[in-house]
Symmetry: C2
Subunit: 388 residues, 2 copies
């Protein structure tokens, strides 16, 4: 698909960000690994930006959100004042992670389609706003709705996009109504008003799901008995089989492969950056990184290896969201460990989540380059380990 | 710990079962892989049996269940008549899987503690009974309870056990109260009254969790602000780090490592049994097996390889529980595929669940031998692939 002529001249400046720009227009940028883990709550200057078109410039006073569809008493428009004043304000600490985080690891194996993200397309933030299920209750939609497990909530954005008329996506209605699902319509990030980069004046946040479902610049919410028809739900963010390697082959698979919701278990060595160290041999190298898993699963263990996976040392975990909480955990885990390193051997990490899922060793390549969580990095020609 | 003197003389006969006995007393047995996948709903003759002591011989008329603890208006006893007549009967189709399923794969790497299960310590059944959250609502416990995410529901069994005074375990209260959690107090399995092997007259069933949490012969339910104190919660069914290889070393880790709840992504080649085929070369070998994942995650893809993981073919999935259902899926997936095989190379399968988790290649060994989901089998000495 050729790019539409979209006007990026009104995009905000990003002078205060300390990000590596992966694409100028639309603006896509991520922090370097070392910056990413400096804070448990990621400040905006280190928070990745993911856009599919020019950033909308919305006046909050004029903005409304339409809620409509199956089970709704009638289509209803909510303005920002109602959302802020008539509904309880809730906060959720959660990782926002792009499905394409670490796409570079798959792109090294074979060409992938998409922005070539490194390991920084995620951040851990506190979002505040009203609960989506409170809004849905107002229009009459509760868990008593007929055929609940077949229904979806579709979101549309004001954002004009390159691949579709606007950004759109959907989640299962059961996730939206789940008392432990914590889906918000957020108007704050880290206790400040959302910026244009992050969806001002209002966005969806869907904890435990890939960032693509947390629609920014929200303009409508529709209950329907099919997934969003948007390009971003139907022809993107899917794990195609390894055999599918171009757009033409993909054509037959889009309708057969499920769209991604929850993300998988993940970890990465951020310090030294990418696990690449200066030392030749070092008996006590301090190593730090992040780990996370989708769906509210916390991290139970991170193993770190300085000898290419022959031996592993268990890291110390910093995961306050999980302490004394046996329900779902949406925040990430930062970890650190001291290990011995070897000349020319990249340090690697391997996380185990609370459901016993472990990162795989080798990348399982897919055309869209999504959900890469291998602990080993391979180079493009030989599928051998990429050493320093 | 030395075995207690327990009397197994009143255990039922198992003449009608077609199971491989892994231990006589307590009775532990599993079907052979080929039998296991003959039916989507596993009949009792092929359903694994897992016991920790002699099978109780309970008279249903005399049996009561005590419900007590935090948030309960008062301790209340329910008899079986009340449970069957006063509460709506609900059914759930779900996999019951022992955390030790496929322990043999880890035991080949290094000695593990526990019954050496093959790949048959699971089955897919329809359980029917009352909802646990309906019972809890009767005694006043709902999601409005204070500190919900710090509370647990502990279950105790009539079963006398080798390692503790009785079988006990717990789950997070949030799982028990979750509208989409489907936790039942079941009195039927596959539309027949539970047998003594499977927990007559009543058992807990916890979909998406390891079987060890689905307590049989239920005698009490307690809401408390700590996990069950039972041996089976605290000193068993945990994924200890690889460095812990005996009882003495484990001592320092039991209190640091979380107990297992949800199980991980899994698949296995059942036909030909264990992926071991007679043929030398065969261009169109039919291969069948099972796949499943915990926490309501369904299976989105199963890849099968006849050439040691060099190339993979996508299998056809039979997973009716997932069709038209975008909420949680508790039933398993049976799959089949036709592939080429090579002389002396074991056929292997690798599943991807709906959260993008993939089975790891090599076993990550742990002392208790739990949650083994590697797609490759290794032998005990060299950690090389075990070929035929």
């Amino acid at each position: 698909m050729t790019s539409k002529q979209l006007d990026y001249s009104q995009d905000p400046k990003h002078d205060l960000h300390q990000l590596i720009v992966r694409k100028d227009a639309p603006f896509n940028a991520e922090p370097c690994p070392v910056d990413l883990i400096k804070n448990y709550i990621t400040p905006e200057k280190y928070f990745f930006c993911r856009n599919h078109g020019p950033l909308p410039d919305i006046q909050e006073l004029d903005h409304t959100i339409l809620v409509q569809g199956l089970g709704c008493d009638r289509p209803t428009r909510f303005n920002m004042k109602q959302i802020k004043e008539d509904y309880e304000k809730a906060s959720v600490m959660m990782v926002m992670q792009c499905a394409g985080n670490r796409r570079d690891g798959l792109h090294k194996v074979k060409h992938t389609k998409g922005v070539i993200w490194g390991p920084g397309a995620l951040g851990n933030a506190i979002y505040s706003g009203c609960r989506l299920r409170d809004i849905l209750a107002t229009v009459g939609v509760t868990t008593k709705i007929k055929n609940l497990t077949k229904l979806h909530v579709a979101f549309e954005s004001v954002e004009q996009c390159e691949e579709d008329k606007c950004y759109g996506s959907s989640i299962p209605l059961s996730k939206a109504l789940d008392e432990f699902g914590d889906v918000l319509l957020a108007y704050e990030m880290n206790y400040s008003t959302l910026t244009r980069d992050h969806g001002y004046p209002i966005r969806v946040v869907v904890p435990g799901y890939i960032g693509g479902r947390s629609v920014k610049y929200l303009k409508s919410i529709t209950i329907q008995d099919y997934e969003s028809m948007s390009y971003y739900q139907r022809r993107d963010y899917k794990i195609l089989p390894e055999s599918v390697s171009d757009e033409k082959q993909a054509e037959a698979f889009w309708c057969k492969v499920p769209s991604i919701g929850e993300y998988n278990v993940q970890s990465y060595v951020c310090n030294p950056s990418d696990g690449i160290h200066d030392g030749i041999h070092c008996s006590n190298q301090t190593v730090q990184g992040y780990a996370l898993s989708g769906g509210g699963r916390y991290i139970q263990r991170v193993d770190v290896s300085g000898d290419d996976g022959k031996t592993w040392t268990t890291a110390q975990l910093h995961q306050p969201a999980a302490e004394g909480n046996n329900c779902r955990v949406w925040g990430w885990c930062l970890w650190s460990v001291t290990i011995a390193t070897k000349r020319g051997v990249r340090i690697v990490s391997r996380a185990v989540d609370s459901s016993g899922n472990v990162q795989q060793e080798y990348p399982v390549w897919n055309y869209r380059g999504v959900m890469n969580n291998s602990w080993r990095t391979v180079d493009s020609t030989s599928m051998e380990m990429s050493n320093i």
